[in-house]
């Protein structure tokens, strides 16, 4: 069933006979569709499988669902992009996808499961050895367990086992929205508060049939782009640090803070907390703030240009970036990779263009790359410049008017899909209401849910010493994936 992004639809109309469901899913994925969500929700005594497929080039979304009571047909062998979705369905609902190559736990939240304890991929051979890292890592960073199968420095395979950050957020949306819902959204991944917050607001507004005023939309865009610039700048600095190039590491560390402080200027919080609410935003800009933001933007961008240019001009940096951690385009497409990581491998997906809405109506940007650390770094720099251009334009011509619209009751027995291009890539929130107009189910797909596998692929046939720089080039979210 074709649906519109950010519009509610009759959830019951997505129902199909289960045979047709799997045939449709397979044929649509073969035709170039990308699964943005695939999950099970309780439906009476059984469960309902729901799949949302995007056709990015046409900006088209389709949703299919079917009732299942017993093991169902795994599509992962033909469509690897579903591998983690099916593992998640199995873990959350107990429904077994028959034929899935390896149904390991992903969040270790079922009775009796012990975090990190599972079957691991193992390479056997003389002098082949295993290196295990985590969950507590060397840096100030979220927890996760990494296992390398190596021969000396050479990495055959890296397996990433997460779930340590699972805190049970998703199911707390159910029965809402309430006073805590927006905070759950803002902390799905704390460095993506605006991205996830906006995705949540978009879903709720669609279900309430509300359009936020133009000024609110632009202010959201402003905050989203500041979030993107701050994180990309920080990561370029961290990449420099990981190849021991300290000038850019130091400069960018400071510049990231300057960008976060711009967000704090708008809403009081460096991560953009408290900025968003369904219907609009909580904070407006006056002439003075606009002037201050413009001034800070130009100063920060000038310094960022200076700091980042050093990366491209320094042979020892380029030598470590180029050809390291290659994710080829076929793998990126096959695994449904999103965001700057996908774009750096030549996949032309950007939610701001493919599913443009609000302030992004005229958004154009095309970036490409060869899938190595260099490409992922360079794409970030191009995106920083593009974000700055957008912010400049918005600050010069802020639409007049209100910053919020009344967001009332949600439409019962409906659903809505909300997509936002967060700084790591496409965020998908899928909300379903019950007969009472309360949320009956809420599914969050963070870009990292797709992209952790890309990091594993990028490490294949690399060296252990490439790991930090590869890892930072993706900089994925543990909490966004673990929920």
């Amino acid at each position: 069933m074709k649906i519109n992004h950010l519009s509610s639809f009759d959830f019951g109309a997505s129902d199909m006979d289960s045979g047709i469901f799997f045939e449709t899913a397979a044929s649509r994925l073969s035709a170039g569709g990308r699964a943005v969500a695939y999950f099970a929700l309780p439906d009476g005594a059984s469960s309902r499988l729901v799949m949302c497929v995007a056709f990015d080039r046409e900006g088209r979304l389709e949703v299919y669902s079917t009732l299942v009571r017993r093991p169902f047909r795994s599509l992962t062998p033909s469509f690897p992009q579903l591998h983690l979705f099916e593992r998640e369905i199995y873990e959350q609902s107990g429904l077994k996808p028959e034929g899935h190559p390896w149904l390991k736990p992903i969040r270790f939240n079922t009775p009796g499961s012990v975090p990190g304890v599972a079957d691991y991929f193992k390479v056997h051979g003389v002098q082949v050895h295993e290196v295990a890292v985590g969950p507590v890592h060397a840096g100030v960073i979220e927890p996760g367990h990494f296992r390398f199968q190596c021969h000396g420095e050479h990495v055959f395979h890296l397996e990433i086992m997460l779930g340590y950050q699972h805190r049970g957020v998703e199911k707390r949306f159910i029965g809402g929205p309430d006073g805590r819902s927006i905070h759950y959204a803002e902390t799905l991944a704390g460095d993506t508060s605006i991205g996830h917050g906006w995705a949540y607001c978009g879903a709720i507004e669609a279900l309430a049939g509300v359009n936020p005023p133009a000024r609110a939309q632009v202010l959201r865009g402003l905050m989203l782009e500041l979030e993107r610039m701050a994180n990309h700048t920080g990561d370029l600095g961290a990449l420099a640090g990981d190849v021991a190039f300290l000038p850019t590491a130091s400069f960018c560390g400071r510049l990231r803070g300057d960008l976060l402080n711009m967000s704090a200027l708008v809403c009081g919080n460096r991560f953009g907390r408290n900025m968003l609410k369904p219907g609009g935003v909580n904070f407006d800009l006056d002439q003075e703030l606009v002037k201050e933001l413009k001034l800070r933007l130009e100063n920060t961008l000038r310094d960022a240009e200076n700091a980042v240019a050093l990366l491209w001009e320094t042979g020892s940096v380029i030598e470590r970036f180029e050809g390291t951690g290659v994710l080829v385009k076929e793998a990126a497409e096959g695994l449904g990779i999103v965001g700057p990581a996908a774009r750096a491998s030549g996949v032309g997906l950007d939610t701001r263009r493919n599913f443009s809405c609000g302030p992004y109506e005229d958004f154009t940007m095309s970036v490409s790359g060869s899938g190595d650390v260099y490409s992922r770094a360079y794409v970030r720099w191009l995106e920083i410049q593009k974000s700055a251009e957008l912010v400049r334009g918005w600050l010069d011509a802020l639409p007049e008017g209100r910053i919020e619209a009344e967001c009332g009751e949600l439409k019962p027995d409906s659903a809505a899909v909300s997509l936002v291009e967060g700084w790591r890539g496409q965020i998908c929130h899928f909300a379903v209401t019950g007969r009472d107009g309360k949320l009956r189910h809420y599914k969050v797909v963070d870009p990292s849910f797709h992209n952790w596998q890309a990091l594993a692929m990028a490490l294949r046939n690399g060296e252990i010493s490439d790991f930090p720089v590869c890892n930072k080039s993706f900089n994925l979210s543990y909490c966004g994936r673990d929920l």
Binding site: R107, F108, N109, P115, P135, V136, A138, G139, V140, I141, E142, P143, G163, Y164, Q165, H166, R167, G168, V169, R172, D178, G179, R180, H183, Y184, T187, L188, A189, G190, D191, S193, P247, S250, F251, G253, R254, R256, G257, N261, A264, L265, V266, C267, G268, N269, R270, F271, R273, N274, F283, D303, N306, A307, L310, E313, T314, S477, Y478, C479, D482
Partner: protein, 245 residues
């Protein structure tokens, strides 16, 4: 090389004085709450986290507060948020702001203070949070805050640490790892709970997926906020080891 030096000149010296003579925090920043009236029923009703109690023991518990500002919006005559970023306390009870002056954390005493005052290494354990607190700890290592100038460092191994700094609500899946990390730090050692999650669960308060800091891991310092401003964390750490008061 020459380009790096020229860039350094352009970027300038960026380390801020600390504690600053006057702090230029954004006008909309929410810092230390101030209770303007003991009549807190309206504010309490607006808080989604039960951080405000009315009645004879009226007060705002910064340990549970995520600084969303809903209370001040609902009852501007009862609660306001100042721009004071210095929020730490040595006990959960010390985080409750009432209508009199808020008392900040006191320094460690005696031997502990002597040992840690000039060299203090912390192992950060991220346990189930949103990466907000982690980001604001990380930023202390940048040139702007320059944590190292105070003799304080985040260290890679608990074996090299004088204590642990815990962020997140301690997801059940991280409880064992937290215990092992704590056990690996040699005594005497200190524990810092950083952020609303570590103190009382934060946005995840009441989730069965979260265990909280186990009772047998004694906490020496509580730094509230969601996430705390980097200055709040820096202020807390330096107060604990007696570098500022």
């Amino acid at each position: 090389m020459i380009k790096s030096i020229i860039a350094r000149l352009k970027q300038g010296y960026r380390t801020m004085p600390f504690p600053p003579a006057h702090m230029n925090l954004p006008a909309r920043y929410l810092g230390l709450p101030r209770i303007k009236s003991p009549e807190l029923a309206g504010a309490a009703a607006a808080c989604p986290y039960g951080a405000i109690s009315s009645g004879p023991e009226a007060g705002l518990d910064m340990g549970r507060c995520i600084f969303c500002g809903e209370c001040a919006k609902a009852a501007p005559g009862a609660v306001e948020f100042t721009k004071d970023y210095r929020l730490c306390a040595r006990s959960p009870g010390g985080l409750i702001v009432r209508d009199k002056d808020f008392k900040r954390a006191e320094a460690l005493k005696g031997e502990l203070r002597r040992i840690f005052r000039r060299s203090f290494r912390l192992r950060v354990v991220s346990a189930g949070g949103c990466n907000g607190c982690e980001s604001d700890c990380n930023v202390l290592q940048t040139v702007g805050f320059d944590l190292g100038r105070f003799g304080v460092q985040f260290t890679a191994s608990p074996r090299h640490a004088d204590g642990i700094l815990i962020t997140g609500p301690v997801a059940r899946n991280m409880e064992l790892a937290l215990r092992k990390t704590y056990a690996a730090v040699s005594s005497p050692k200190v524990v810092i709970a950083c952020g609303a999650c570590a103190i009382a669960g934060g946005p995840y308060a009441g989730h069965e997926e979260c265990a909280g800091i186990p009772a047998d891991i004694p906490v020496d310092l509580y730094i509230p906020g969601c996430p705390p401003h980097p200055l709040t964390i820096l202020d807390g750490i330096l107060r604990l080891i007696g570098r500022i008061d």
